[in-house]
Amino acid sequence: MPPSHPSIPDRASAGPPSSELRDLAPEQSGVAAVGSAALSLFASARELYSLFVRTLYYCAKGRREPGAVLVQMYEIGNKSLFFLTVVMGFIGMIMVFQAGQQAKRVIPDLTMLGATYLELLIRDLAASIGALMLATRVGAGIAAEIGSMVVTEQVDALRMCAADPIDYLIKPRFIASLLMTTCLIVWSAAVAFTTGMVTAYSMFDVSPETFMNVSLVDAGDLATGLAKCLAYGAAIPIVSGHSGLSTFGGSEGVGWATTRAVVNSSLAVIVLNMLISAAAFLIFR
């Protein structure tokens, strides 16, 4: 146990500590457990909000460093491209296969399969599944990198030099993620649609001309999809940067931080998805 361990709320919001600490800590029960969980949730939400606001401040007022942003864009964008292409390709095949299989039980006519699929893809699937994958790939990467820097005291060194780690570490990732998430999701929608088209042609004999039907896609769908891209692109680096910066406790701590980053950014994607979908449904119905 390090001599100066973080305060109790910090430790609670930082996920499970090493097992010795857990055994030493008194077991809470009933109201106390619920209360401490609520308090730590509230504390994390406040920290995330403050991190978000400070990142936005540095985006507007901070140093200009296109080089760092470009490096992060390569790291976040190009390196995720292969992974995202594979996953979205398979997702396209699975979705069309399952939907066709089920639709045949109810309505024998599959001409609207492509139009419905494209609408769903633009409004929700491409952005949400793509962002879940990015939360895994990019979130884990950011947390592991920043977590290692914290553990090896490079972040403290930055603070010693009067440089805010948010300006140097989080801001470039934030801008890069905002841009590259949008690009990657547009690309993944294209991939998923293409593989879906091939599946529909080979399994259900729906010709590509019938499948490529944009009649159901309207401005509301596009706006929803784009809003999701931006929201996920902003949420992933903030959430995983936060768990990276709150790393403590050696190599095990880096592992914990990475785990927390993946789980929390996936949860953030799911919660944002529900909020934006519900809002879009109520606005554009």
């Binding site: 499970p16 992974f83 594979v86 996953v87 398979f90 997702i91 095949m93 699975i94 979705m95 296969f97 399952q98 299989q101 089920q102 039980r105 109810v106 419905t116 769903l120 409004r123 929700d124 949400s128 879940l132 994958m133 895994t136 790939r137 884990a140 990467g141 947390a143 592991a144 990198e145 977590g147 290692s148 553990v151 090896t152 050696g250 190599s251 095990e252 701590g253 880096v254 592992g255 914990w256 990475t258 785990t259 993946v262 789980v263 996936s266 949860l267 799911i270 919660v271 998805n273 529900m274 979908s277 519900a278 449904f281 119905r285």
Partner: protein
Amino acid sequence: MHQVGATFLQIAATVGGMAVLAGQIATRVATLRVDGAEFMRNLYKMGVKSMPIVAVTALFTGAIMVIQAAPLVERFGAHGLLGWGAGFGTLREIAPLLTALMINGRVGANNTAELGTMVVTEQIDALRVLAIDPVSFLIAPRFLAMVLTLFLSVIFADALALLGAAFTGDLLLGVAPAVFYNGLTSGLLGIGDVMSGLVKSVVFGVVLALSSCQYGLGVTGGAPGVGRAVNATVVASAAGIFILDYFVSFTLD
């Protein structure tokens, strides 16, 4: 070209390593040389501790399914079919897939970090020195616990996602829970749909467990190495889950 070849060789080496590990685990399980206490400890740590995340994910997923189906339902006025639509999507695909992804982030990554830390601090070598087989003491219990965790979590998630869907349908579309329940049980959905999801959950559990143990045991290079391994394992498991999902759905029908 060189890079493509290197990537391919690396993937082949990882898959091969996973197969060898699977063989080792299978012999330990077949001869019942699995540490029971470690199994129970991991089952608690992986299963019980992941319940809140699984529950939150499932409730929100059910809600999202209904919100996405809502325009279609309103367009065709097919309120009775809402239960069927949400039910089939949830049971067959979304619940196993999203539960596996969340468990991948929570348990798989964690397992890699733990095993990786043990490797870096030479605890595995210490076990070997004490003539304790690391596979039967550490790996096989984790493998079994992870598969069982995912299987049980998917059952749990199925139920909660349908609950979330019924609640959202009532709130957003005015479809009464009884109508939703009728749509769910009207005969368009069978036990086959539930079984398909459960078969998937077992397959995903095997992939998750193998890849997280494999990457965890292969850690080199201190704290940054653990971070890199965790990153690699979540990416590899996620890709593996989606690829196998396709093949499982394809072979089951």
